[in-house]
C-alpha cells in the first residue's frame, strides 16, 4: 500500500520505470504472469467463483488503495479545515463557500471586462505565457552554455564561480534590476523567470556532458567525427536526459516563482489575481486559485515528463 502511495507522488518517476521495465530488456513478463496466476488459484480453490468475479476482485484490490487512501487524506484535510474555521479562525471561508466560488470562477473562466477584470482562465494563461517565454529563453541560452561548460574545462573555470554565486539567490531579487532595465513590468517578470530557469538547465546540461561515458567519446574519436557531427550524433543525444531533467526542475520552480513575481509587478496573471483578491478580502477565491495553480503545475510537469520519455534511452 505504501508503494502505491509513493507511485502516486512520483508520477514522473513511475512512468520512467514503467518504460524501462516494459520497453526494454524483459518486456511484459510481469503482465503475462498475472492472468496465469489468477487462473491457477481459481483452479486450485474449489470455492472460487467464475473468472469475472476474480477479475473484478483483482481490479478492486488494485484500485482501492490508489483511490481510497488519497480520499482519506482529502477528507482529513477538509475536516481539519472545517474545524479550524469553526473554532480558531472564523474569517476563513468554509469548504462550501470555496466550492461555490470555484463553480463561479471556473464556470466562466474566459470573460474579459477590461484589463482589471478578467476570468481566472485568462489569469492563468497570462502567467503561463510569461513562464513559457522566460523558460524558453533560458533553455535557448542555458543549453548551449551548459554544453560548452560541460565540454570545456576553461569554460567551467570561467563560468563556474559566477554560476555558484548567483544560483542560491532568490530570483525575485533580480526584479528591481529588470524593472530598471526594461522599464516595464511584463519583460521584468519574464526576466525573473529567465533567471529562475537558467540555473537548473545550465547545471544539469553541464553535468550531463561530464557524465558521458568515455566509451562514447572513444567511438567518436575512432570515427573521427567532426566537432559539429560529434555534437549532433553523440554529445546532445547522450546529454538529452540530463537536459530534460534540468528543464523539468526549471519549469517547476518557474511556475512557483511567477506567482510571487506577479504579486510584485501587478497586471493580469494568477499571482496578481491572488493579491487582488486578498485586497478584496475574497479568501475563497484565493483558495480556488491555489488549487488551480497546483493543477496547472501537475500538467506542466506531466508535459515535460512526456517529452523526456521520448528522449530517454535505456543504458546499453
Amino acid at each position: 500500500m505504501s508503494t502505491n502511495y509513493a507511485d502516486m507522488q512520483l508520477v514522473g518517476v513511475k512512468r520512467e520505470n514503467d518504460k524501462d521495465a516494459e520497453g526494454r530488456t524483459e518486456p511484459t513478463v510481469g503482465r503475462e504472469t498475472k492472468p496465469a496466476e489468477r487462473i491457477d488459484t481459481a483452479g486450485a480453490d474449489p470455492t472460487a467463483h467464475d473468472d469475472r468475479f476474480e477479475v473484478m476482485a483483482d481490479m478492486f484490490q488494485r484500485w482501492i488503495p490508489v483511490l481510497v487512501l488519497p480520499l482519506i487524506t482529502f477528507g482529513l484535510l477538509l475536516g481539519g479545515w472545517t474545524w479550524l474555521q469553526s473554532t480558531v479562525s472564523p474569517d476563513l471561508p468554509t469548504p462550501v463557500q470555496v466550492w461555490d466560488e470555484a463553480v463561479f470562477l471556473l464556470g466562466d473562466p474566459f470573460y474579459d471586462h477590461g484589463p482589471n477584470d478578467m476570468g481566472i482562465g485568462w489569469q492563468v494563461l497570462y502567467s503561463l505565457g510569461r513562464v513559457l517565454t522566460g523558460f524558453g529563453l533560458a533553455a535557448l541560452v542555458g543549453i548551449p552554455l551548459g554544453l560548452m561548460m560541460g565540454a570545456s574545462l576553461s569554460m567551467r573555470r570561467a563560468l563556474g564561480p559566477v554560476v555558484q554565486l548567483l544560483r542560491p539567490v532568490s530570483p525575485l531579487a533580480w526584479l528591481p534590476l529588470g524593472l530598471l532595465v526594461f522599464e516595464a513590468v511584463n519583460p521584468s517578470a519574464i526576466f525573473v523567470i529567465f533567471i529562475t530557469s537558467i540555473w537548473p538547465i545550465l547545471i544539469n546540461t553541464a553535468a550531463g556532458v561530464q557524465a558521458i561515458p568515455r566509451d562514447y567519446t572513444n567511438v567518436s574519436q575512432v570515427l573521427r567525427l567532426g566537432r559539429l557531427e560529434a555534437a549532433r550524433k553523440i554529445l546532445i543525444p547522450a546529454t538529452m536526459p540530463y537536459i530534460l531533467t534540468g528543464m523539468r526542475l526549471a519549469l517547476g520552480i518557474a511556475w512557483m516563482v511567477i506567482v510571487a513575481a506577479e504579486m510584485l509587478t501587478g497586471g493580469v496573471g494568477i499571482g496578481f489575481f491572488i493579491w487582488d483578491e486578498w485586497n478584496n478580502l475574497n479568501v475563497a477565491s484565493i483558495i480556488v486559485s491555489i488549487f488551480v495553480i497546483g493543477l496547472v503545475g501537475i500538467a506542466l510537469d506531466g508535459g515535460v515528463a512526456l517529452i523526456k520519455k521520448r528522449f530517454d534511452y535505456a543504458p546499453a
Binding site: R24, Q221, V222, L223, K233, P237, A238, Y313, A314, A316
Partner: protein, 265 residues
C-alpha cells in the same frame, strides 16, 4: 625491414598523485599483414594500454607506432576498435550504430550503397534480424556482434579488439570466437587482440605476445602458434600440439610471471 604494423620502443609513463608511474617499458612488436596477434597478460600489465596506443586513443611517452610506414598520431577508422564493453550508442538502433561508421568511411558514396554496406556487415555477424532494435533491447553477445559489425564496416587495416568477449558467458564467448575465426579467414583482416583467456589466445592467434607484470611491463615472450587454419574447437581439444601451446602460455602466466595479486595473498 619495415613490417605492416610496427610498434617500436613504446614507453608509457602516467603522472599520478604519487608521482610518475611507468606502465610500459620498451615494448616492441612487429605484425605482418593478415596476422592474428593476441596480447595476453595479467590484469594491470598494460596490455590494453598498448592497444589504446595503437588505436591512437593514447599517446606513448616515447616510442611510436607505424602502420604501413605512417606514424599513428590520432585515432582513425583504419584502426577500428572492438571495445570490451561494445560501446554502442544506446539512442541509436543497431542499424544506425553501424550506419554511423559507414557514413563516415564511405562518405560521398550513394545512399543505397551505404545502406547495402551497412546491411552486409550486419549480415556477416547475423544481426540483420535485430537491425531496428536498440542496444538496450538485445543481449550482451548480440551487442558485441554489432560492435564487430561496426568495426568490420570500417574496413580497417588493423582490427583492434580489447578483450572483446570478456564480459560474455562461456558459451556465448565460444560461439563468437568461432565466428571471429571464420570472419578473419574470409576477410584476411590483420587483428591485434588483447585477452586474458588462454584458450581464446591459442585458438584464434597466429602469434601470442605474452606480457610481463607491471609496472614497467614489457613483452616477455612471443609464441608462434603453428596450427593449420581453420581450427576446430573440438578437434583442438585433443590436439597434442594445441595443448602444448596452451601449457606454454599457462606456464608463462602462472610460473614465470605469476599474478602479482596472488603472490601478495
Amino acid at each position: 625491414m619495415s613490417h605492416y604494423l610496427n610498434i617500436d620502443y613504446l614507453d608509457m609513463t602516467f603522472a599520478t598523485p604519487r608521482g610518475p608511474l611507468n606502465v610500459l617499458n620498451n615494448v616492441n612488436l612487429k605484425v605482418q599483414k593478415g596476422d592474428f596477434v593476441s596480447i595476453i597478460g595479467h590484469s594491470g600489465c598494460g596490455k590494453s594500454t598498448v592497444l589504446n596506443i595503437v588505436a591512437g586513443l593514447l599517446r606513448a611517452t616515447t616510442g611510436g607506432v607505424l602502420l604501413e610506414e605512417r606514424e599513428v598520431v590520432e585515432p582513425g577508422p583504419e584502426r577500428a576498435v572492438v571495445f570490451q564493453n561494445h560501446s554502442l550508442l544506446p539512442w541509436m538502433t543497431v542499424y544506425e550504430n553501424v550506419r554511423l561508421a559507414v557514413d563516415k568511411v564511405r562518405r560521398g558514396a550513394p545512399r543505397a550503397e551505404r545502406d547495402a554496406w551497412t546491411l552486409e556487415n550486419l549480415e556477416r555477424v547475423h544481426m540483420t534480424h535485430a537491425k531496428d532494435q536498440y542496444p538496450g533491447e538485445i543481449s550482451g553477445g548480440m551487442k558485441q556482434r554489432v560492435g564487430i559489425a561496426r568495426a568490420l564496416a570500417m574496413e580497417p587495416k588493423v582490427l583492434l579488439m580489447d578483450e572483446p568477449f570478456g564480459a560474455l558467458d562461456a558459451l556465448t564467448r565460444a560461439h563468437l570466437q568461432d565466428e571471429v575465426m571464420k570472419l578473419q579467414s574470409e576477410l584476411g583482416n590483420t587483428v591485434l587482440m588483447v585477452t586474458h583467456d588462454v584458450d581464446e589466445a591459442v585458438l584464434l592467434s597466429d602469434r601470442i605476445v605474452m606480457m610481463t607484470n607491471g609496472p614497467a611491463a614489457t613483452i616477455g615472450e612471443v609464441l608462434e602458434i603453428d596450427l593449420p587454419k581453420p581450427r576446430e574447437r573440438l578437434v583442438m581439444a585433443d590436439n597434442a600440439q594445441y595443448n602444448h601451446y596452451r601449457a606454454e602460455v599457462l606456464r608463462f602466466l602462472h610460473e614465470r610471471h605469476k599474478n602479482p595479486e596472488s603472490e601478495a595473498a
